[in-house]
Amino acid sequence: SQTIHQWPATLVQPVGSPLSLECTVEGTSNPNLYWYRQAAGRGLQLLFYSVGIGQISSEVPQNLSASRPQDRQFILSSKKLLLSDSGFYLCAWTRGLNYEQYFGPGTRLTVT
């Protein structure tokens, strides 16, 4: 069966520090991968998606970047965090076809 992991689960970082969040999928190959953010009390905002290794599409221009160094690994990064980067970050994957997405447990990021 397939599983999706996110690391770390929680993170507290000062403004101006770098960021690296990791998402890995097991049990499938060549998945489509997605990064979402939820600000406090708000809905889902799609940040990036990837349909293959090295292929990254950005949905919202901002202080973040994404990379896909391996087939089942998706990284979300920032060189300098802003207060507005605080939120709950979710990674998801899909095989495509029927569009059903499977979500990871999320990372709670607090920028202080």
Partner: protein
Amino acid sequence: AQSVTQLDSQVPVFEEAPVELRCNYSSSVSVYLFWYVQYPNQGLQLLLKYLSGSTLVKGINGFEAEFNKSQTSFHLRKPSVHISDTAEYFCAVSSGDSSYKLIFGSGTRLLVRP
């Protein structure tokens, strides 16, 4: 372009009462429709999905939804809610392109009171 509207940001209901969470979508292509549930500090979990066939779709935890093409709606229902159903519920529609993105509504918080 596809879009999803969840008209109610919060729905309070008493335990064992029925509930309906509303979802309307806009799309120029054939759609797949989904309801997800999110408990506090957790990821999203699929409740149910409509891909094709019967317009009444049954999901986990006693939830069901009905696809209405003429009204472009996909409302979620449960005949009797429990305290444990308190959560955020998201409706989503397929993007219809090769990105396989889902377009999510803004969410409805279901608050079940004893």
